[in-house]
Amino acid sequence: MTIAAARALRNGAVCFVGIGLPSTAANLAARLHAPELVLVYESGTLGAKPEFLPLSIGDGILAETADAVVGVVETFNYWLQPGRIDIGFLAGAQLDRFGNINTTVIGDSYDAPRVRLPGAGGAPEIAASCREVLIIMRQSPRTFVERVDFVTSVGYGSGAGDRERHGFIGAGPTMVITDVGILQPAPETRELVLTHLHPGVGLQEAKAATGWELVASAELEHTPPPTTLELSTLRELEQTKAGRSTVGVL
């Protein structure tokens, strides 16, 4: 999943990176095919080049290695909002068939939620304003749902035309990378369809991991297996993680 995400990052792109898998994937890409990837963390570090994986978006290593450190107001207003960022990374507790993301509450009621999640953070505006959005999430019927309990960040809303109605600058989620494969929006409906399966995963497995009637693309492909170099670079990178402990990332 991390390797598939890293592959999706073209050299020279400017990425708005959250902590966890996105940070790992971006740092992995920078060490492989994309040495000129520009990492922007929402803590205001433009062009950070951390030697090891930070635990939080505010780790000192990000400020030390950045081309520029700016305030949070500037980060959102001058850099994210006008559409200067090529790729935004998002994840969530729930994702629906139109790529909308929930990171707020699980349950029917906002006021009395079953599970209170951390909330929006930078996601609504990342989802709206980055030129494109990559979503990385583990796929399960519990997390890939027909309709999210709460729309924190909009993917394609209720389908084609919705982003345009909202006046969004960016194209929306062009790729959802999971442990099962890759989903992409169908050009006409904007519904997420399965375009790639990871090696060793079958179509039935993918459908079973999805809470809606998952459609597979007519040109369903398999992602190439990880290379030795990809695997070893990822392993090295993860060993450098700040805090030196293995952490479950939300």
């Binding site: 505010g58 980060t75 959102f76 207003n77 402990s245």
Partner: protein
């Protein structure tokens, strides 16, 4: 510290610091003073607000992301929202972009800020401080958020000089905005120096824009002060277990904060 003079029951307070320079020591003093019914404002509540909430200091939380960064949930925050323990917690919830602009409006003496934000998000329906506004030139509809002007802002910085000018550097977050938006302000600092040596990327707050300065060495721990300390990532990881259980949490607070 100046906390006793500054923070009153029922106040709206902002302890800011974006992962870096979080004023933990000041937060602990607020807990020791037994303040109640506070409206807590912070983009990223972090462990210090988890502690304030768990200790019953808060009535309301104004925020944009309430998690333990890179670790997971803030359990005391969740317990308050999900089970009203130790009491119920009102939420005023925003995105980062919205919160940052609310502080900026507050610092600018404006009643609101305009941004491209929240469109299509269910947050709009839950928060009265998000409304829409129409551009008087293009007719385009945009989001408006009301200004934040906390009663008190507290930040932690690396240095103050003899005149009370303050300098912070590294990741500077929204601290300048929080201080300039607030009615009363306290800056805790790692050390007093004769003269502030200008530094790359630093934010300097002149003495006349601040009410109180206190020296509190390591006052941001387990957060950090760039150039003075490292982020105690192990403590952030350990907090998950400490905070998960009400009794463990209370015992830890008793031993490490109330008795300190």
């Amino acid at each position: 510290m100046a906390i006793a003079a500054l923070v009153r029951d029922g106040d709206t307070i902002a302890l800011e610091g974006f992962t870096h320079l979080i004023p933990f020591a000041a937060g602990h003093e607020i807990i020791r003073q037994g303040r109640r019914r506070l409206s807590l404002v912070r983009m990223t509540p972090d462990l210090i607000y988890d502690q304030l909430i768990g200790m019953g200091c808060a009535r309301r939380l104004v925020f944009s992301w309430g998690g333990n960064p890179g670790v997971g949930s803030l359990h005391r925050f969740r317990d308050a929202v999900e089970h009203d323990w130790p009491e119920s917690l009102e939420l005023e919830e925003h995105s980062h972009a919205g919160m940052a602009n609310r502080y900026a409006a507050g610092a600018s003496g404006l009643p609101f800020a305009v941004l491209r934000g929240y469109a299509g998000s269910d947050l709009v329906g839950e928060t009265d401080s998000i409304r829409s506004i129409v551009c008087p030139f293009t007719g385009e509809s945009l989001a408006a958020v009301s200004a934040l002007n906390p009663d008190v802002a507290v930040i932690h910085a690396q240095q103050a000089d003899a005149s009370g000018n303050v300098q912070l550097w590294g990741i500077c977050g929204v601290q300048k905005e929080a201080v300039l938006a607030a009615r009363r302000t306290l800056v805790t600092v790692e050390e007093l120096v004769e003269r502030l040596e200008p530094r790359p990327g630093a934010v300097v707050l002149p003495a006349w824009a601040i009410d109180y300065v206190s020296v509190v060495r390591n006052g941001a721990h387990p957060s950090y002060a760039h150039g003075y300390s490292e982020r105690d990532n192990d403590f952030y990881l350990a907090w998950d277990a400490i905070s998960r259980d009400r009794t463990t949490f209370q015992e830890w607070m008793e031993a490490n904060v109330l008795a300190a």
